[in-house]
């Protein structure tokens, strides 16, 4: 009977092999004390071990540079410095001389002490680097205790799926890609150093499997799916066949996606659909274009403020906005004003903890209360209008008055720019995100004050269903196909059409094949998704007929449950779209009502 472990996708691809459990962990260090007269010998032993560890790590770095490149090799710089670190070395020597510990025991103590200091900061950036600390600890202890190199642990030649509690950068890079088919670990996320290396090496990997390393013994056959983050131990005949076939399909799929970037975003029956990208940083504009973006449906601006202790200046913001606007000449670029609050708050706002942050002081509410923060942003965006089709997007709008207040601020800022002779384009657009039921139900009123609507489906679903989407216990209840959501989408689309303004959707729903199909059917012809998901979305668009989508949407509007909505859509989309081929790696919601994307 196959056993299935679900974790986090860390490095894409499908792997077959026998499980090999690697325990490149901290070796057990015997508690040995040494008399003072032998301290000198321990000190020499320690220095020699450090020298050997440095030499070996330099080789690892050089090998990495030769095989993967300079950037990847630089991952080992901090570790090399650790091996020369005075605080580490002097601290260890002190324990040898004053506490009469063996070099190995003294080094372990000192490292654990430093590790505890790091953990106490509880800063994610520091915690991510604990793997480097482990790497150094393990490497030096292996030298001190005369244990074998990690490379020897892996291979007897048979293709293996390496299972470990966690991996370290040096262990990962020492694996032979010809023999190591995949990695599966208890811990580990996409941002760990070893994960970055695994992707460079093109070895599929799954992290966050909790305790898989204790649940397997080694030698079992397994399949690893790095796209959805799954490990199947002792798969049955059928799973094996399905995955063999899938591997070939995925290869063809990836090749097709590369081609699709160059093709038009148009349905089978000729309906063009605007495809835009959601961006978090200006630097992503280029990648988005390469993936086929025809504009930016959502440019999040929080990176200017989160984690900073001072207000961002107008000039700095202007540069950032201009960079994105210039990357998309004559194309829509929707800049969302600061969406602060909830889970992201900059230090300088001195925000007290709230009982219900997602129902609290956030987004447009913060900006309208804090002109010192808001006005420079509006000025910077106005100045960027001189370079292209800029649209100002207001988050979490609930009523008309909020839009009117922003309009007044904009008028004042326009006046001041005019007086100073600063160029801007007065034909820019102002619109709001529809992401609360209040806004959706008020869409007709809002449409008189807005030049466009963008539906933020993530929040709309969350606020409509009163389901916190970060709560894993509620994951099954977070369902974008709930009839209440579908009906609001319909309402907003209708209001926009009646007012002659564009309605677009930015949100994960648009990255889901059935979600995109529904939106097209509701006459929403501009979709914006995270840029890596663009090729798959274009594939959906090019595989469906707008008439089928409209028919399915009409049925969906009459469907009594989320399950019925999903069924209607799945039937409507027909065999033209192979739902199983979609990767599901861009956090497309996987609810039980949506056809599973896995075989």
């Amino acid at each position: 009977m196959a056993r299935i472990f679900d974790g986090l996708p860390v490095s894409e691809g499908i792997a077959f092999g026998r499980i090999r459990v690697v325990r490149w962990g901290v070796p057990k260090v015997p508690h040995i004390t040494v008399p003072p007269e032998e301290a000198d010998r321990e000190v020499d032993h320690f220095h020699a071990a450090l020298t050997r560890a440095r030499a070996r790590l330099s080789e690892v770095r050089d090998e990495t540079e030769a095989r993967l490149g300079r950037m990847e090799a630089r991952i080992f710089e901090p570790q090399l410095l650790m091996l020369e670190d005075r605080e580490l070395i002097d601290g260890t020597l002190l324990y040898v001389r004053e506490n009469r510990l063996s070099a190995a025991r003294a080094f372990e103590w000192r490292m654990l002490e430093l590790q505890a200091l790091w953990v106490r900061t509880s800063n994610p950036m520091v915690l991510d680097r604990l793997g480097d600390l482990d790497d150094v600890l393990i490497r030096v202890l292996h030298q001190l205790l005369d244990l074998p190199e990690p490379g020897d642990l892996v291979g007897d030649g048979e293709p293996a799926i390496v299972v470990a509690k966690n991996l370290t950068p040096s262990l990962t890079v020492l694996m032979d890609p010809a023999r190591v088919m995949g990695f599966a670990t208890d811990l580990g996320t996409r941002t760990a150093h070893w994960a970055i290396l695994a992707r460079s090496m093109e070895i599929p990997a799954v992290g966050g499997l909790v305790d898989v390393s204790t649940k397997v013994s080694g030698g079992e056959e397994a399949i690893l799916d790095g796209r959805i983050g799954r490990l199947i131990v002792e798969p049955g005949e059928r799973e094996r066949e399905v995955y063999e076939e899938r591997r070939v399909q995925i290869q063809e799929w990836e090749e097709e996606l590369e081609q699709i970037v160059l093709l038009d975003s148009v349905t089978l029956d000729g309906q063009p659909v605007e495809l835009r990208a959601n961006l978090d940083l200006p630097e992503e504009a280029q990648r988005a274009r390469e993936h086929g973006a025809e504009g930016v449906g959502l440019f999040r601006t929080e990176f200017f403020v989160v984690g900073r202790n001072s207000m961002p200046g107008e000039e700095e913001q202007y540069e950032g906005y201009r960079e994105v606007v210039s990357a998309f000449p004559n194309r829509a670029v929707c800049i969302r004003t600061f969406d602060l609050g909830g889970d992201k708050f900059p230090m300088f706002l001195h925000m007290p903890a709230e009982e219900n942050p997602f129902l609290g002081w956030r987004a447009i509410r913060v900006c309208l209360d804090n002109h010192q923060l808001f006005r420079p942003q509006l000025r910077a965006i106005l100045r960027a209008t001189a370079h292209g089709d800029v649209r100002i997007l207001l988050p979490l709008v609930n009523d008309v008055e909020e839009v009117v207040q922003v309009r007044e601020l904009l008028n004042e800022e326009e006046e001041s720019l005019r007086r100073r002779g600063v160029p801007f384009y007065s034909g820019y657009k102002l619109g709001c995100l529809i992401e609360t039921p209040a806004a959706a139900l008020e869409a007709a009123e809002l449409s008189r004050h807005c030049d466009f609507f963008s539906v933020g489906t993530n929040d709309l679903v969350q606020y409509t269903l009163a389901v916190d989407r970060s709560n894993t216990r509620l994951a099954q209840r977070y369902n974008p196909f709930h009839p209440a959501v579908v009906r609001q989408l319909h309402l907003v689309s209708k209001a926009g059409r009646a007012a002659g303004i564009e309605v677009s959707v930015c949100g994960e729903m648009a990255a889901n094949p059935l979600g995109a199909f529904l939106l097209l059917g509701l006459d929403i012809m501009a979709l914006s998704v995270a840029w890596p998901a663009l090729p798959e979305l274009k594939k959906v668009i090019r595989s469906v007929r707008i008439e089928d989508a409209r028919k399915a949407a009409r049925k969906a509007l009459a469907a009594p449950t989320a399950r019925d909505v999903a069924d209607v859509l799945a039937r409507g989309i027909g065999s033209g779209v192979d739902l199983a081929a979609f990767s599901g790696r861009w956090s497309v919601p996987r609810s039980p009502d949506v056809k599973e994307v896995t075989p």
Partner: protein, 88 residues
């Protein structure tokens, strides 16, 4: 004692690689050098300490140097931080 202030300029902040650069530069001076973020003050020549700072973009660091080449050391380190290390 030479004291300089510098704001982290590169987008990713003082992550592992810039931290390594800072430590390497500090090691070229004979002065004692410290870097502080708020209450946390660490030896600039120790990667163990500097990695703990985990300062993000926009955060102000205080650099202090004591010794014969203290002025040069403080200037050089502050400049390295302010120009965003060798990345941007």
């Amino acid at each position: 004692m030479e004291v300089r202030k510098a704001v982290i300029a590169n987008r990713l902040g003082l992550h592992a690689r810039p931290a390594a650069e800072l430590v390497k530069l500090a090691a070229t001076f004979t002065s004692e050098i410290w870097v502080a973020k708020g209450d946390l003050r660490v030896n600039a020549k120790s990667i163990m300490g500097v990695l703990m700072l985990a300062a993000e973009q926009g955060v102000e660091l205080v650099i202090e140097a004591e010794g014969p080449d203290g002025r040069e050391a403080a200037d050089a380190l502050a400049a390295l931080v302010a120009r965003g290390f060798s990345e941007r």
